[in-house]
Each structure stands twice: as structure tokens, then as C-alpha cells.
């Protein structure tokens, strides 16, 4: 590979700064006491503590999954801190009370928590380490009847909804990381869109890990009632640190009859340095349940993290429900990703679409792992899967693991897969037309990812495209 590709994949991570802020951090280690302490700090009701404890006890009996196609030093769960909060965060009445240092952090990340966001029609919830530091545009949302707040706040203000839906799609016993999250989750976001309401704004949550040796375990719960619709975006960054940090989130989506939930992720956690030192372990469980005629759409652009393990899935419970998964996953240097989706067809005439674009550069290893399961009653189910891999350089890898189980003869499934290499010819062609190598690669890669980018909300499509350019910088030689 020529020198140009290699330089392109190696640009500095620009979000790698640390904010100097006083934190309330609990001692390292994980015992039942830790769980109780977190729950007490959040002044949670008894039922939630009980749920956490059940999750914790279950977790103790589980083992970390070894089937993903990734290699890493196992996490020492007793060496982690499970709760860290910026000290000044008491229940806030308005954003004016947020520590200015935090606001500056978010400004640096390009996210304004102050009212500027009003113009762009996006409401933002910011999660700093373990807690939400502020949600913008609450009043506008309230008028429409939409609830968008931190998870902690929702536990106190909407306990019935939380109790009804928490763990209803991802039970605490689901898997090792989901159980861990259920035991120790510290905050997250909650969205509730009532019957018939179209959420008037894009909702966005911004996750930031700041403290060292601290895991981030947030939960997101989104409920769209009958006929409601909402579009939600999450973004993630973290400082550069030489140790690995754990991020084990759980996201649950519930789309009742005729509801639509569109969930987009731009994940740019610190990926570790060029030698593979440091970076975030991103072990995430995301799943949605779609009732009759409902639609759940996952779009993800994954460029960060040292290790990614995530399979945003849809349970197509109701008849005529739709599930979609659009994914761009980029690995560079020593990053490893094992990502894909599960589409579980239960209802009749359920439809699912999977478009996965994997880009591997440097020594990166990228695996697509996807399951399409058609249950006996899913008459007329349809799935279309397209799984494309692009290789940049010759030290990286792309792997595809499709699992297809069909128990109904009337189902129609299509699976297409391709692997291509960014050719020197393509780059030379672009250069001959006046584009430099970086521009050429970002153009070729953007073309490759086009079907996914067009699914992103407009404001974020451009950001995602730029992010992709940055994470591939130095990859072409």
C-alpha cells in the first residue's frame, strides 16, 4: 500500500482532552454494597433497588461472552469505579446552574447546551460520566406532551412508566453486560411520546466519559405510544487515556401500534492509539420491540472504541411491523468491531432490511454478525440483507457471520454480500482530477456508505461523513 493511505488513517483524536472538574466518585470494586450505594445516591425507590440487586445476583452467575470475534485483555470488574458524578450536579432548575466548566466541555465538543440549539431544532440531553448534566428545550417538548429527561429524573417523575417498561425488551438476565448494566447503571435518557404525537424536535443525547478508571453504564428507554413518532440521536466521545475504559450501555425501544422510532448513533469513543493502547471497550445491548404496523429503524456510524460489541436488534412482534438496520462500522489501527443486528420475525407480514457497510484499515478487524430469525407464525415475512466490506491496505480484515433461521415456508429472504478494496486506481483517478488523497478516500468511502448516510438526520449526515474522513486519515499509503 502506498504511503498516502497510511497517513490518511492516522489523525489525532480531537476529543481526547480531560475536563478538570471535581467529582463525587465512589471507591473501586463491585459488591452488593456498591449497588446499594449507587441506588442510595440516586435516592431510588425500593422496587428499583430490588431490580438492581436481582440483576447483580444474576450477573455473578454469568460469564463474559467469548464468542465475539475480538481479542482483548479481560476487564477486571473489581478494579473499576461504578459511579462518578460532577460534584456540583444537584437537581438543577435550569441550565444556568450547570457548572460553566461542563458547559465549556460541551462547547469544545461542538455541542451547545445553551439556547443556541433552539435554532437547529434539536433538543439535547448531556450525560457526563454517570449523570445527566442538562436537558435542553424541555418546555418546547412539554407543550407537545413529550417527555425527554435524564433516566434518574424519570424514575422520580414518571415511576409508573419506568416500572412498566424497564427491562421489558432487554431483561436484566439477557446477557452478561446487560445484567451488569442493570445492576450498576447510573443514568441515561428517557423519552416518552404519547399517543398520536409526532415529536416536533430531533432528540439527541450526548455521552461523555471524563473520569479515569470509570465505567459508563447508561440506560436509554424510549417509548412511542400508538401512532407516535420520534427521531433520536446519540453521540459519544471520551478523553484519551492509556488504560481501557468500559462502556456497557443498554438501550430499549418500545414502538406500540403504528408508532415509529428512528434511532441514530454516531459513536466516536476514543479508539486507542496507533499501537492499540487504551481506548474504550464498547459492549452495548440495544433492542427494540415493534408492535402492529410499527417501525423501528437503527442507524449507526461506528468509528470509535478499541473494541465494539453491539447488535442493535428489532423484535418484530406485531403484524406488518418493520425493522431496519443501517450501519457503517470503521476500524483502523488496532480497533476491533463485532457488530451487526438481529431481526426476529414473530408477527405476520413483518419486514426487515439490513444494510451493513464495514470499512477496515490499518490492522483493524471488522466482523458483521447478523441474525435473521423467522418464527413459525411469521407468515409472509421478508428480509433483505446487504453486507458490504471495504478494505484499505493489506493488514486489516473483514469477516461476515450471517445466521439465518427460517421456520415458515412463506418467508422471503435475500442476502447479498460484497468485499472490495479501495484501489490505487480509484485514488489515482481522483488525484488526476485535482483531489488530494484524503479527499479522494473520503469521497470513495462516502460513496460506499451512501445508503446508510442517507438514513441519518440531515444535520448529522455531514458530521458523520467528516468523522469518517478523520478516522480514516492516514490509512492510505
Amino acid at each position: 500500500m502506498s504511503a498516502s493511505i497510511e497517513t490518511l488513517v492516522n489523525k489525532e483524536y480531537q476529543y481526547g482532552f480531560v475536563t478538570d472538574i471535581e467529582s463525587d466518585t465512589i471507591p473501586v470494586g463491585l459488591t452488593e454494597e456498591t449497588v446499594r450505594l449507587i441506588s442510595a445516591k440516586k435516592q431510588e425507590p425500593q422496587w428499583l433497588l430490588d431490580w438492581r440487586l436481582k440483576a447483580f445476583r444474576r450477573w455473578l452467575t454469568m460469564t463474559e461472552p467469548s464468542w465475539p470475534n475480538v481479542k482483548y485483555t479481560k476487564v477486571d470488574y473489581q478494579a473499576q469505579t461504578y459511579y462518578s458524578a460532577p460534584k456540583s450536579v444537584k437537581p438543577l432548575q435550569s441550565l444556568d446552574e450547570v457548572d460553566p466548566e461542563l458547559l465549556r466541555t460541551y462547547e469544545k465538543l461542538g455541542i451547545s447546551l445553551t439556547e443556541q440549539k433552539r435554532l437547529s431544532g434539536v433538543a439535547v440531553d448531556a450525560i457526563f460520566d454517570s449523570v445527566s448534566v442538562g436537558t435542553t428545550m424541555k418546555d418546547e417538548l412539554k407543550k407537545a406532551g413529550v417527555v425527554f429527561c435524564s433516566f434518574g429524573e424519570a424514575v422520580h417523575e414518571h415511576p409508573d412508566l419506568i416500572q412498566k417498561y424497564l427491562g421489558s425488551v432487554v431483561p436484566y438476565s439477557d446477557n452478561f453486560f446487560a445484567a451488569l448494566n442493570s445492576a450498576v447503571f447510573s443514568d441515561g435518557s428517557f423519552v416518552f411520546v404519547p399517543k398520536g404525537v409526532k415529536c416536533p424536535l430531533e432528540l439527541s443525547t450526548y455521552f461523555r466519559i471524563n473520569a479515569a478508571e470509570t465505567g459508563q453504564f447508561e440506560r436509554t428507554l424510549i417509548v412511542a405510544e400508538e401512532g407516535a413518532s420520534v427521531s433520536y440521536l446519540e453521540g459519544c466521545t471520551a478523553p484519551k487515556r492509556s488504560t481501557n475504559q468500559l462502556h456497557a450501555a443498554v438501550v430499549e425501544l418500545i414502538a406500540l401500534d403504528d408508532a415509529t422510532i428512528k434511532y441514530s448513533t454516531v459513536q466516536n469513543w476514543y479508539a486507542g492509539d496507533a499501537d492499540g493502547v487504551g481506548g474504550i471497550y464498547n459492549f452495548v445491548t440495544k433492542r427494540g420491540k415493534a408492535m402492529a404496523r410499527a417501525k423501528i429503524s437503527w442507524t449507526q456510524v461506528e468509528t470509535g472504541s478499541a473494541i465494539t460489541w453491539k447488535y442493535p436488534s428489532v423484535i418484530l412482534q406485531g403484524d406488518d411491523s418493520t425493522g431496519e438496520f443501517y450501519s457503517v462500522a470503521v476500524v483502523n489501527n488496532h480497533q476491533q468491531a463485532d457488530t451487526g443486528t438481529k431481526m426476529i420475525h414473530i408477527g405476520r407480514n413483518t419486514k426487515s432490511t439490513i444494510i451493513s457497510k464495514g470499512i477496515s484499515a490499518g490492522h483493524g478487524q471488522n466482523s458483521y454478525r447478523g441474525q435473521v430469525k423467522v418464527l413459525p407464525k411469521a407468515e409472509g415475512a421478508r428480509n433483505y440483507t446487504q453486507c458490504d466490506s471495504m478494505l484499505i491496505g493489506n493488514k486489516c480484515g473483514a469477516h461476515t457471520f450471517p445466521y439465518i433461521e427460517v421456520a415458515n415456508d412463506s418467508a422471503t429472504l435475500e442476502h447479498e454480500a460484497s468485499t472490495s478494496k479501495i484501489g490505487e486506481d480509484q485514488i489515482f483517478y481522483c488525484k488526476q482530477r485535482g483531489l488530494n488523497t484524503e479527499h479522494a478516500i473520503s469521497l470513495i468511502v462516502a460513496g460506499f456508505c451512501k445508503e446508510v448516510f442517507k438514513e441519518l438526520p440531515m444535520e448529522f449526515a455531514l458530521e458523520a461523513q467528516q468523522l469518517l474522513g478523520i478516522s480514516l486519515e492516514g490509512s492510505v499509503g
Binding site: 486506481d425 488526476q432 485535482g434 460506499f448
Partner: protein
Amino acid sequence: MLRISDLHASAGDKPILKGISLDVRAGEVHAIMGPNGSGKSTLAQIIAGHPGYEVTSGSISYEGEDLLDLDAEERAQRGVFLAFQYPVEIPGVTNAYFLRAAYNEIRKAHGEEEVDPIEFLDLVEEKLKLVDMDPAMLHRSVNAGFSGGEKKRNEILQMAVLAPKLAVLDETDSGLDIDALRIVANGVNALKRPTNATVVVTHYQRLLDYIIPDHVHVLAGGRIIRSGGKELAHELEAKGYDWLLEPAGVGA
């Protein structure tokens, strides 16, 4: 405009060009002809800056600058254009987007403002007529699924939009039927100016019925073995290459 002096170049360990010298002045059309494997396309690629070849000795100067010192994109920005023998496909990137990106890079390099998509569309639509291309082609991915003739026409469209000073056409006639050939040639002729120059690389004489060269050079075995006026092309058409190759000591 372009001066090539005693150029030697190889691909890997294999020497391909063995001492080429060529002078191209503004306003001129040069044809480089020769049998397959003579090094014609290599010469075209080296002028454009393809990284796959190594220049082992000799020099190329372009408008007083050492061309070999410049990256491919810098050459393009200074007005060197190569119409590819095999235009490359870029799936997912529309022709219009690609062309505008290229156009703006070249403008930026000259310290000019970038143009927005709407202004650009006006400019392109006019150029489309030159190569008789359907505007719908602008919204298809670059060369993806194009027929051979469409790809070649697309190259000339790019040339028309980017308005190079030195255009090198590498086997632009290959794979074209007679109608397409005429369209492509008319496009090239319409772009001819006293301030720019064209180098046409071709195996056959037929393109030169439409694009009339001022100078014809025969390349064989990595050397220019004969130069002449446009009548040399006709002579080659009548007699083939062999009569030139043997006295030059080059096996056919």
C-alpha cells in the same frame, strides 16, 4: 509548454521507456502512435503522475516547472489532464458531485471561489451538449454501469469542465463506434485553443481523421523511432508499423 528530455522509466524492475524526448508547444496537437506494448500508455500515465512507475533518469518540465516534483493532484491543479483509457468507477458518488469537487479543487488551487451546486449545474449543462450527453448521466455514480462509449464521453465531459492546458488522451478511441468517435473528436476539437495543447495516444489512425495532429510520433520499444507531420499517420495506416520497426532494431 511540455518538454520531455531523455526520459527513462520502469515498472518494478522492467524498463519500459528508454529515452523519450518530446516538445509540445501551446496550440499544438501531437499524436503518439505505436504498436501495443510500446510504452504509449506508460508515457501518458507518467505525465499524469501515476505512482506505479519509476522515472529512472531524464526530466519532464511543464510550464517551466519540474513536473516530476509534483503530486498527481498538483499537476491536475496546474492544468494537466489525462483522459483515461480505462476510466475508473466510483460507486455511490454522483458524476455531478465528483465533477464539482474536482472543479472546485482546481479553482481553490488558483485562489478562486468555489462554486455552489446550482451555479455548477448551469456550467455543466452547457458542456454536456458538447459531448451529446444526457443530463441524467450527471446523477449516476461516476462511470458505474456506464457503457464503454459513455465512459469515454464522460472523460471528455470532465475535460470540458476542467478546461486543462495540457490534455493527454490515452486510447480514447478504443471501444468507440464511429458515431461515438465523431462525438468525442468534435468535443476535443471544440476545446482546442491557442493556449492549450493536446497529446493524443492511439494505436489506430482513424481518430486522427477527426482530430488533426500537427505532429505524429511513433513510439516503439520505449523510444520514439520516427516523428513527422500528419502524413506520417496516413503512411502508417497504409503500411502498418513493421517497415519502421525493423530498421529501428525493434521486434514487432
